[in-house]
Amino acid sequence: MSAPAAFAARWSRLVVAVPYLWLLLFFLTPFAIVLRMAMSDADTALPPYAPHFEGFATLREFISKLDFENFRLLADDALYWDSYLQSLRLAGQTTLIALAIGYPLAYAMAAAPRHWRPVLLVLVVLPFWTSFLIRVYAWIGILRPEGLLDMVLGGLGLTSEPLRLLNTEAAVLIGMVYSYLPFMVLPLYATLEKLDRSLLEAAADLGATPVRAFLTVTLPLSLPGILAGAALVFIPSVGEFVIPDLLGGPDTVMIGKVLWNEFFSNRDWPLASTVAIVLLIVLVLPLALLQRARLA
């Protein structure tokens, strides 16, 4: 290798190292700290967990005190399992509903005249200009008994008594679909807008009805957008804390809320960390498998 080439190679290695360094500093290090907490015991004094780390001399002792007790506790308690399952189910439902609403929306946007598209895009991201919290609060006003929804439906004579949607699972679903819909629409729009229209003409030319052409050309070619959108909706939905807290009732126990309670109400940081780690595994494992399946 010539000297300039070697220099370039060294440089490119350095450049590649930057994102790794970033990940190491801001992702792996905090993760290691949380993992360490998860394997520690609750303590009454601050910081509320033991063992403490006091220099490398006591490293062996420190390590020997780490254990999987919290993980065992988590596995044995049905409360945690139920809330994990409920979170996954609600996130799954949110994703499906967001897909069902988002796909036609993105499709219409991509089919709209070119000069209309930027306006439609702005409309999709417009809600982000107000605080997330305020928007969820607004839903309380809409969904509560005698709220906006009841007033409209009652006024139209469609319902005779209040719907009592607030503090139910349905309210949580409405809130989550509303909040995460743009994350579904945007990647879908990006793939659908790129779709070569002459492919649909070719399909029609070869005898495909419009529905057939959609199923055999548009849908498979928009799969990357569907997967990206689904991941962007599903992942934050699983750990969602604010929406179930504000819109859900006592039956809606999502894992994000459990996490909050462990951290701030029970002040059991080790158990809370365990909950967080398990959540991470639950989320990362299927994604990693998916990635491998796609590469294979």
Partner: protein, 384 residues
């Protein structure tokens, strides 16, 4: 450069001259507008079974639009399109027995080559075994055996073009539309593909309509061609007729090279026409049944390969003019010589000399004083 029509082998095939022949496709006064642009205006055209038809014209003259109306992707604003005598104007694309090879090929990127070819057959609901058989047949036809499992992005440009062709042919359409089929190929491949397409067409007996802006391509392949300009058809005919008897200056200049002289008709005796030109004096030419009146202002067209060059003054008393060589362009097969006629501020006339030997004595040089002369059969009259 090929100037003669390959159709000479198929002289007997002239359904357009047969009053009893029923056209496969008929355009009747078809017009298509996009906003204020009239892409196709008042086109009437008949295509016959087994015909290889070429649509020739500059970019933007409406060739693709005309073809897309035939495939059903655009609706005419006026007029009708008939297939086998039946108006198909209202039939949606997926129900028309017409297939199109797209300019961009439009291959499905998520399907293998075999699945691309099978796509149309599956829509017909053919049995699996039959589809497999037809796909294999098509792959063999376009010489892509063994590449059925590849994805389009794993193919070269020429191979992709063949897949697009096979996919469009698989359904055995009555009419195959090809929109600039060779535009993305390099020259050698393009020439080879032209002849392959012609073989394929005569083998299958499918009617082909090819859109192109390349006159050599149109002349090589077509039984008949139409020259388009600004959405209208200017002339329809076999390539040799279009080349040797263009109806106007536009066609004459678009198809091949031509020198054009302004003149005035001074005598018409039977087929013989005498035209007085400002630049080259008296020009005499042979025109079949000329409908020219004495004194009419006309143009005389002279193809460069039909002009002779000499240092000495030719014996004939007309069809000659003196000039000075301004430029010599060696093109391999021919040498294109530009002669300035009528003084330094006159006109450049192009003359093409065939290079018959490898090391010719180069009889002509820059600034030579030379005589141009031509046969009575060389010139053609064009309306001014």
């Amino acid at each position: 450069m090929r100037r003669s029509s390959p159709g000479s082998l198929r002289r007997a095939f002239q359904p357009w001259n047969d009053p009893n022949a029923k056209p496969l496709i008929e355009f009747r006064g078809v017009t298509k507008r996009f906003g204020s642009v009239t892409a196709v205006s008042e086109v009437s055209l008949s295509l016959y079974r087994r015909e290889f038809f070429a649509l020739l014209g500059p970019s933007g003259c409406g060739k693709t639009t005309l073809m897309r109306m035939l495939a059903g992707f655009e609706q005419p604003d006026a007029g009708e399109i008939l297939l086998d005598g039946v108006d198909i104007t209202a039939v949606p694309p997926h129900l028309r027995p017409v297939n199109m090879m797209f300019q961009s090929y439009a291959l499905f990127p998520h399907l293998s080559v075999a699945d691309n070819i099978a796509y149309g057959l599956k829509r017909e609901g053919l049995p699996r075994a039959e589809i497999a058989r037809r796909v294999a047949e098509m792959l063999a036809l376009v010489k892509l055996d063994g590449l059925g499992k590849r994805r389009p992005d794993q193919l070269s440009g020429g191979q992709r073009q063949r897949v697009a062709l096979a996919r469009a042919l698989a359904k055995r359409p009555k009419l195959l539309l090809l929109d600039e089929p060779m535009a993305a190929l390099d020259r050698k491949l393009r020439e080879a593909t032209q002849f392959e397409l012609m073989d394929l067409q005569s083998e299958l007996g499918t009617t082909f309509m090819v859109v192109t802006h390349d006159q050599d391509e149109a002349m090589t392949m077509a039984d008949r061609m139409a020259v388009m300009d600004h959405g209208g058809l200017v002339q329809i005919g076999p390539p040799d007729v279009i080349y040797e008897a263009p109806v106007n200056r536009y066609v004459a200049e678009f198809v091949g090279d031509i020198n054009v002289l302004e003149g005035k008709v001074v005598a018409v005796e039977g087929d013989l026409v005498r035209i007085e030109t400002a630049l080259a004096g008296m020009v005499e030419l042979d025109e079949e049944a000329p409908a020219l009146s004495i004194g009419a202002a006309v143009l005389v067209g002279l193809r460069p390969e039909k002009i002779d060059l000499s240092h000495d003054e030719p014996a004939q008393s007309f069809n000659k003019v003196a000039g000075e060589i301004w430029d010599i362009g060696y093109l391999g097969d021919v040498t294109m010589i530009q002669v300035m006629v009528g003084g330094d501020s006159g006109r450049l006339i192009k003359v093409a000399l065939t290079n018959r030997t490898r090391r010719a004595a180069r009889p002509f040089a820059w600034e030579d004083r030379v005589w141009l002369s031509w046969d009575i059969e060389a010139g053609l009259v064009l309306p001014r």
